[in-house]
C-alpha cells in the first residue's frame, strides 16, 4: 500500500465527507491526485474514468500511481511476443493491457507512474517530460537526466529511466510515463524476455533498452521523494497548491462506473483477445520412446483465438479420426493453456482406452500447450 505517502500529502476534507461534486470542482487550473491502490487494473481504470468523464477544460490533472508486480503491454501489442507468460504465471505477476499505445513495461512498487491529463488541444508530451526532468534536477542537481526525441528520459546519457505512452480521445488526452526508482531489475529483464520463436505479427514491437534505477545513482532517493518533487513542480507550473489528493479506485460513489471499467480490463477478451492477428510457425521437438520427433506446427491466431491450425505429424502416429477431432476442437478456441487443456483432456475421454495412444496424445498436447 502507498501509505508512506500520507505524510507527504494533505487530506482535503472534501475527500472524506462530501460527495464528488465538491471533490472534483476545485477552482484552480490543476489537480494532483494519487491512488491508494497498488492494483494495476484499478489504477488503469482510474485513467479510463478520468479520460471519459472529467472535463479538463478548466483544470488539468496529474495522477500518481504505483503497482504491485505487473507487466503492462501497449494497446496494440502481442503478450506472447513481449513477455515470458509462463514466468508471469509462475510468479503470480499480473498481465494488463493499457489503452495507450507504445511498448511493454514492468511495474513494481519501485517504479512510479505519472499520468498528465489535458484536453486534446493541450496535449503536449515534451512539456510534461521536461517538467519531470526539472523536478529531478531540483531534487538532485547533479543528476544527469535529459529527454530524448523518442520521449524517453535517459540517465547518464545511456540508461533509460522513463518510457512514455499516450492516449487521445475526442476531447481529452493523456500522456503517461514511468520512472524507475528502485524496481527489481532482475525480475524485469527475465519477465520481459519472450522465449517464443516463430511468431510473425504486425503488433507494435517493444524496443529493448538498457535500464537503471535512480536509486542506484543516488541511494538516498525514494519513490515518495520523487513523487513529491514532481507534484511540487507540477503545482508550481500550474499555479496551484502543492496538495496531493488521495483517491480510492474502488470508490464507486466517487467514480461511478469504475468497477465495470476495472472488470473489463481484467477480461481475457481485453488482455489477450485484443492482440492483433499473428501467426506461429514453429517446430516441436518431442522425445518419444527412444527417438526425437520433429513436428512442424503452423497456426493463425486472431482475436486471441486459433483460426487455422496445422500439425505435421508422422503418418498414422495418431489415428486420423482423432487428429482431425483435435484440429477441429482447437479451431475457434482461445490460444490459452487452460482452455486447450480442458479440450484435449475431454477428447481423451472419448477415444479408445489404449495406453500407447494415451501417452502419444498427452505428449503432443503438452507440447502444444507449452506454446501458449
Amino acid at each position: 500500500m502507498v501509505l508512506q505517502s500520507l505524510k507527504n500529502c494533505l487530506w482535503l476534507p472534501c475527500v472524506l465527507r462530501t460527495p464528488k461534486a465538491c471533490f472534483w470542482s476545485t477552482a484552480s487550473g490543476g489537480l494532483i491526485i494519487q491512488s491508494i491502490s497498488n492494483d494495476v487494473y484499478q489504477n488503469l481504470a482510474v485513467e479510463d474514468w478520468i479520460h471519459d468523464h472529467m472535463d479538463l477544460e478548466k483544470q488539468q490533472v496529474l495522477f500518481l500511481w504505483r503497482n504491485s508486480p505487473a507487466v503492462v503491454i501497449g494497446r496494440h501489442q502481442n503478450p506472447w511476443q513481449e513477455c515470458n507468460l509462463k514466468l508471469l504465471r509462475q510468479k503470480n505477476i499480473k498481465l494488463a493491457r493499457r489503452r495507450s499505445g507504445g511498448g511493454t513495461v514492468y511495474h513494481d512498487l519501485g517504479n512510479i507512474n505519472l499520468t498528465f491529463f489535458t484536453t486534446r488541444k493541450k496535449y503536449e508530451r515534451m512539456e510534461n517530460l521536461k517538467l519531470v526532468v526539472k523536478a529531478l534536477k531540483a531534487l538532485r542537481p547533479q543528476l544527469d537526466v535529459h529527454v530524448t526525441d523518442r520521449y524517453d528520459i535517459l540517465l547518464d546519457r545511456q540508461y533509460k529511466i522513463s518510457g512514455t505512452a499516450a492516449k487521445l480521445g475526442r476531447t481529452s488526452a493523456y500522456h503517461h510515463c514511468t520512472l524507475l526508482c528502485n524496481a527489481d531489475k532482475f525480475v524485469l529483464s527475465s519477465v520481459l524476455k519472450s522465449p517464443f520463436k516463430g511468431l510473425k505479427s504486425n503488433a507494435t514491437p517493444s524496443v529493448p533498452a538498457l535500464v537503471k534505477n535512480l536509486f542506484e545513482e543516488d541511494p538516498s532517493l525514494t519513490s515518495e521523494m520523487l513523487l513529491d518533487a514532481i507534484a511540487k513542480e507540477y503545482a508550481v507550473q500550474h499555479q496551484i497548491d502543492h496538495h496531493i489528493t488521495l483517491i480510492n479506485p474502488a470508490d464507486e460513489t466517487l467514480l461511478p462506473g469504475i468497477s465495470d471499467k476495472t472488470k473489463e480490463l481484467q477480461t481475457w477478451e481485453w488482455v489477450y483477445g485484443k492482440t492483433p492477428k499473428f501467426s506461429i510457425s514453429t517446430c516441436l521437438n518431442m522425445v518419444y520412446k527412444d527417438s526425437v520427433l520433429d513436428v512442424k506446427v503452423n497456426m493463425d491466431v486472431k482475436h486471441g483465438r486459433i483460426e487455422v491450425c496445422n500439425i505435421d505429424l508422422p503418418e498414422q502416429w495418431l489415428p486420423p479420426g482423432l487428429y482431425s477431432e483435435l484440429v477441429k476442437s482447437l479451431t475457434g478456441s482461445k490460444f490459452c493453456p487452460n482452455e486447450t487443456t480442458t479440450l484435449v483432456t475431454t477428447l481423451l475421454r472419448l477415444c479408445p482406452q489404449d495406453d500407447e495412444l494415451h501417452s502419444r496424445w498427452s505428449l503432443l498436447c503438452e507440447n502444444m500447450i507449452r506454446l501458449m
Binding site: 507504445g102 505512452a165 499516450a166 492516449k167 487521445l168 480521445g169 475526442r170 480442458t342
Partner: protein, 476 residues
Amino acid sequence: VCIHRVRSCSSIRFIKSKYVCVFDKSALKFSHQQRLFRTSAVSCGQIVQFKLSDIGEGITEVTVKEWYIKEGDSVSQFDSICEVQSDKASVTITSRYDGIIRKLHYSIDDIAFVGKPLVDIEIDASKGVASEEDVVETPPMSHEEHTHQEIKGHKTLATPAVRRLAMENNIKLSEVVGTGKDNRILKEDILNYLAKQTGAILPPSPKAEIVPPHRRAEAVPAAAKDKAHKIPVPVSRPIAFEGKDKTVPVTGFQKAMVKTMSAALKIPHFGYSDEIDLTQLVQLREELKPLAEMRGVKLSFMPFFIKAASLGLLQYPILNASLDENCQNVTYKASHNIGVAMDTEQGLIVPNVKNVQVCSVFDIAVELNRLQSLGSAGQLGTSDLTGGTFTLSNIGTIGGTYAKPVILPPEVAIGALGKIQVLPRFNSKGEVFKAQIINVSWSADHRIIDGATMARFSNLWKSYLENPASMLLDLK
C-alpha cells in the same frame, strides 16, 4: 472541403426559416441549422467523406490498428470508429455524424493520412451534424442548463435528438442518469426520467421503451366492496421490446461439455439414492479441522467421502472399471483415481486425486487443496484432468438434495452429494434428535452394473460415513 447540396425533398418542413442547406463550412453556423432538421420526412441520404482530423504534435500519418465498425453498420455521433497509432500514442477516432458506414478507406496496418478521407458515411438528411470544431450543440432558444455541458466537471453526452427531447420536456440533462456508452444519455434515459416524474407504475423491463402514462394507475376490483382495501392493478401496456437475440459460436469449455455429454448419452444410466446421517462425521471433522489447519491444510468433508468411496471400491471393483467401445471387454482399473467435479468461472472441470487406495484422508485433503487452487487459477495440467476412474460431485456446496448425475466416460459410475440439512430423526431409543442429513444420488452404467451392486456399495459407503470409527478397521 466537400460541398454537397441537399436534395430538397417535398415533405421537409422548415420550422422557422426556409432555405436550402449547403454543406459549406462558412454556411454551417450550427445554432441556426439545428432547427432546419426537424423533419419527419424520409431521408435523402448523401455520402459524406469523414476525414482524419489533426492528431496534434505535427503528426501527418498514423497506422490504422483496429476498426470498431464495418461497412453497412449504422453509427451515431460520438461512436468510436477506429483506433489509430502514432509514435506511442493510441488515438480513438469518433464519428461526427449519425449515419451508415458505406466505405472504409483503409485496412488494418495501413498508413492513414491526416486530412484525407477515413470513412464514407451516408448521413440521414433529417439528422443533425457536428461541425468541424466541437461546438456545443443546442437549439438557439435553450436555457442555460442546456447549453452548458459541464456538470461540475463532468460532461454530458447526448445526441441532438436526445437534447431536443429533454428540452421539450423541460428536463435538465444534468439530472438524468446516462446509460449509454461513455455514460451518454439515451432516449430511454429521458423517458425513464419522465416516467419517474409522473409516478407511473411500470412493469420492470431492462431495455423496454417505456411510454409514460399520464396519471397514476388506479383500479378497484369489481368484487371488492370494501373501499379501504384498494389493490392497484398493474396497467398492462404494449411494450416495445428492443432486445436482440445474440448468437455466439460454441467454443472452448462449452465445446468440451458438448462432446462429453453427447458421449455420455450413449450410456444406459440407472439411478440409486439414499440418505446418510453425518452427525458423527460432523463431530469428527470439527475435532480434526484444527489439526489439519496446523499443518496448513483446509479439511472439508470431501476427503472423507473420497476415502470411503475408495474403501467401497475395494469390495466392488466393477464400479471402478471401464467398458470398451464394442462392449466386448471390461477393464478393472487398479488405481482409484477419484474425480472431483469443480465449478470454475469458465465452467465444469473434473480433476482427479490419484491412487486414493494408498492415500490417507490427510493426503487426500492436501491434494484437494492443490487441485482447488490450481483450478481456480486456471492452471490445472493435463495429468490432473486425465486418468479418472470414478467421480464424486459435491453439488450440495451450491445447493440441492437429490440429483441425477451424468456418468463421465470412460467411467461407469458417479455420485452426487446434496447439501447437509439438519433434520429430525429417531435414534435407536425411539427419541427424536437433530441429525445432520445428506443425500447421495448415484448413477451407474446398467450394461455392466446392476442395481444390487450399486445398492451394496452405497450401503458400505454409507456405513463408513455414519460410523467413521469403522473406517479405521479397513484402512490400508
